[in-house]
């Protein structure tokens, strides 16, 4: 019985018995439970586990990391091939940060580059969402823990990610909670899986600084997105720029770091917004504009403005965050 279970969760190229041994030996911070419990939880999640060095384990990771990477990787979904970029940043993201992260991620995905991030809310989520179909989320916990809640819930971001052909990955047992050392290990893994890393936004104590540090150690090029000097979210990227990270001003900068370039953007559909409103939003992009500012500057009557914004939200042209409205895609 146990043998069948382990075969069901072992990735091709890995020996189920060896896997079971490794899991049993792993220092168990998974909150109790036998290795068989772990296997059962993995099976329920539809996860396949590969051991370091085996066929199902990324070669690049083994080669790049002196330690060779974590002992095993539990993968839900399919692993996209080809070059990969990591797009990371704070959970508490501004509209500007989310817009830039989405811009970079969408361009990368269109160019056939996989987008890696940490599956957290904020910048990570924006990147994953914009690159659905070509993205990998690296969890800072086990597969069975359900964190962060909005992403792990049924039909949430992680389910969408897997359904569109991407992967959700963890290097810990399924019931491991998101403890600090697990999150740190996740950051190192993100850096190790990528061919280039960009930090979009973060505060002075942001985890993305740690991830950038790992990337530098592993020889992965680091880029940072400049921002408004007054905003706390620009602290981490500006720190990195001062330490020699390359500026990332547009997708071309990021893609150049992995030896490719953005594909031509399709002609944009005509806007449904009143011209003065579109002008305001396009002029401010990627910064969002608050609705009351928009009402005042565009000269459009409040009721009509609200109706136009709703229509544009429904057809996906604009997006609203807590700090205002912005165009979803970069204006032409």
């Amino acid at each position: 019985m146990s043998g069948l279970l382990w075969r069901a969760v072992t990735a091709p190229g890995t020996d189920p018995e060896r896997l079971r041994q490794v899991v049993a030996d792993a220092s168990d911070d998974a909150g109790g439970g036998t290795p068989d419990d772990a296997a059962a939880a993995w099976q329920e999640q539809g996860v396949l586990v590969a051991l370091r060095g085996d066929a199902g384990y990324p070669r690049g990771l083994v080669e790049r990391d002196a330690a060779g990477g974590p002992e095993f990787l539990a993968v839900r979904g399919s692993w996209p091939a080809g070059p990969a970029v990591a797009i990371v940043g704070a959970r508490r993201a501004s509209g500007y940060g989310v817009a830039v992260a989405a811009w970079l991620a969408e361009a990368a995905a269109k160019a056939g580059v996989t987008v890696i991030s940490g599956g957290a809310v904020g910048i990570d989520a924006a990147a994953h969402q914009a690159a659905l179909g070509h993205t990998i989320a690296v969890l800072g916990c086990g597969h069975g823990v359900g964190y962060p809640r909005p992403h792990a819930r049924p039909g949430g971001l992680f389910d969408q990610l897997v359904a569109t052909g991407g992967a959700v990955v963890s290097s810990y047992g399924p019931s491991t909670p998101p403890r600090p050392h697990v999150v740190r290990a996740r950051n190192r893994l993100v850096a190790g899986l990528a061919d280039a890393l960009v930090v979009v936004e973060g505060g002075a104590r942001s985890g993305s600084l740690v991830t950038a540090g790992h990337a530098a150690d592993l020889g992965v090029p680091v880029l940072a997105v400049p921002g408004d000097v007054r905003q706390p979210g620009s602290t981490a990227p500006h720190l990195l720029l001062a330490e020699g990270a390359a500026p990332c001003r547009e997708p071309a900068d990021l893609l150049a770091a992995v030896g490719t370039s953005p594909v031509a953007v399709a002609a944009q559909v005509a806007t449904t917004l009143p011209p003065s409103v579109h002008e305001q939003l396009a002029g401010a992009w990627p910064r969002p504009v608050r609705l009351d500012e928009l009402a005042r500057r565009s000269g459009v009557n409040t009721g009509q403005l609200l109706a136009a914004i709703t229509a544009a939200r429904v057809n996906g042209e604009v997006v609203e965050g807590h700090d205002g409205i912005r165009l979803r895609a970069a204006p032409a």
Binding site: R91, R92, A93, V98, A99, A102, V121, G122, A125, A126, H128, Q129, A130, P148, R149, P150, L157, Q231, P232, R290, L291, D292, A295, R296, T302, G303, Q304, L306, A307, A308, I309, T310, A311, R313, V314, N315, V319, E320, G321, H322, D323, R328
Partner: protein, 493 residues
């Protein structure tokens, strides 16, 4: 000998006719009041005694029994003092039966014999008129309120001496005055609110369609300011409504009895630490109206909505739905009307500064999510308009206001309400099929709850009324959705 004096008790909002019977006869000297009196009523004996003696009249040295009939209706408050004193005087022969016939008396007595007003004057006056009272004796201060009832002879009496003189015919009865409109509740003007075009629009829609509103924003962005100005946009109360409101306020003891009838819809703003009884009514003894009933036909402003305990929010749901609150006690249930318009205010996150461009938010993202979740649920579903406000930029606050005044917006609201009433009288189709399809599609695309369908349609209907459109169209629907969109907080676009 037994004397009879008419008076009344108020249970909930209902006045009950009470006959005070007073018997004086052989027995150990002492006074006893019966008929379910509460503590204040029992003290009537002492006050009446001092008042009668201060007037220079004799207090009988025999056994006195006062009965407040019917015996099984609970009696509360000091309003029976005057009736009891008159009863004693009637029983001792100072007042003859013909002096007391048809006379209703209501008032508290001071130890010097002065007559004081008591809560509930208005509904009692209405009862007296309906029972064909010959006259109603009340304190000077309460005379204006009692005179709101037509075809009732209201006789203001300053003290017990004057009361006796009027009843025996020694002095003519005075008439009540008109009352000074001084210190009326003046509603501040909407022009004071700078900027905030969205919130102003939402308030206008709320006034035109009697919708409930939630204002979310950092401290100091103007939520209470706007709420305070909403009553100014509403039309004056009709006389019947104003009387009902006055009766509720009179019973609660918050109405100035010397004030004329107030036609401005009431505005109540209890602190978030208000108890459940204070909020919906109740309290020990006879149930008294709560804030939601004091806000009947008007506005109830609840600031810091999420600081209120969950239980308090839960008890609001039924009155929001039914427009009344029923308080059931072992002895009786009491119904208070509570058709109020709710304006609720909240911070967008625990620290209050999410979306504030001047101060960054310090909250952890999962805390923000949990905080917002407390807003969801059955209460929120009944709030049709949900507006996010931001602090106004300093430049907007300086200089002359070029914002619309209350008067301008009130006109539009009145026109919208008139169309709404006319349309409802006729009935028929409400929205074009394009509009309904548009609404369904938007709800799907924007992942709104299915309950939003009805709410958005209601708001769209009001928007169409304001515009003068016969049917709800797609644009009205789009705007309505914008007034109900929860803002995306953290994370993915």
């Amino acid at each position: 000998m037994v004397a009879f004096v008419r008076t009344a008790a108020v249970v909930g909002l209902e006045p009950w006719p009470v006959t005070l019977e007073c018997w004086v006869g052989q027995g150990l000297p002492g006074t006893r009041l019966v008929g379910l009196p509460d503590a204040a009523v029992k003290e009537s004996a002492d006050r009446a005694k001092a008042a009668i003696k201060s007037t220079g009249l004799e207090w009988p040295g025999q056994r006195i029994i006062g009965n407040l009939a019917p015996a099984e209706v609970p009696k509360a408050g000091a309003g029976f003092d005057l009736a009891f004193a008159l009863g004693v005087l009637g029983a001792t022969g100072v007042l003859k039966p013909e002096h007391l016939r048809g006379v209703w008396a209501l008032g508290e007595l001071g130890l010097d014999g002065s007559v004081r007003p008591t809560p509930g004057t208005l509904p009692i006056a209405a009862l007296a008129r309906s029972r064909s009272a010959r006259c109603l004796l009340v304190a000077d201060a309460a005379a204006v309120e009692a005179s709101l009832i037509n075809q009732l002879d209201v006789v203001p009496v300053a003290d017990l001496r004057e009361t006796v003189a009027v009843l025996t015919g020694a002095a003519p009865g005075r008439t009540a005055g008109r009352g000074e409109p001084a210190a009326r509740n003046v509603v501040p003007d909407l022009a004071d609110v700078r900027g905030q075009p969205l919130a102003r629009r939402a308030i206008e829609i709320a006034a035109a369609g009697d919708h409930h509103v939630l204002l979310a924003g950092p401290p100091g962005c103007g939520k209470s300011m706007l709420a305070r100005r909403l009553p100014g946009l509403l039309p004056d109360l009709g006389v019947e409504q104003a009387m009902e409101v006055a009766a509720i306020h009179s019973v609660a003891g918050v109405r100035d009895p010397s004030a004329p009838l107030d036609l401005v819809p009431p505005y109540r703003a209890p602190h978030h630490t208000v108890s459940i009884a204070g909020l919906v009514g109740g309290g020990s003894g006879i149930a008294r109206p709560g804030e939601i009933s004091l806000a009947h036909e008007g506005i109830l402003f609840l600031d810091e909505l999420l600081e209120m305990p969950r239980r308090n929010l839960d008890v609001l749901r039924e009155p929001l739905e039914t427009g009344e609150v029923r308080i059931t006690r072992a002895r009786a249930s009491v119904r208070f009307p509570a058709r109020f318009r709710l304006v609720a205010a909240t911070n967008p996150c625990p620290c209050g500064h999410l979306g504030d461009s001047r101060t960054p938010c310090r909250c952890r993202p999962d805390r923000i999510e949990r905080y917002r979740e407390r807003l969801s649920g059955p209460l929120l579903d009944r709030i049709d308009l949900q507006v996010t406000m931001h602090p106004v930029v300093a430049a907007d606050l300086l200089g002359e206001s070029c914002e619309e005044s209350t008067a301008t917006v009130r006109e539009r609201v009145a026109a919208g309400r008139a169309r709404r009433a006319a349309r409802r009288a006729v009935g028929g189709r409400v929205a074009t099929s394009t509009a309904l399809e548009r609404l369904a599609r938007a709800i799907d695309a924007l992942a709104l709850s299915s309950r939003s369908f009805d709410a958005c349609l209601r708001v769209a209907r009001t928007i169409a009324d304001l515009e003068g459109a016969a049917l709800v169209g797609p644009d009205h629907v789009d705007e309505a959705i914008a007034h109900r969109m929860p803002v995306n907080l953290v994370g993915a676009a």
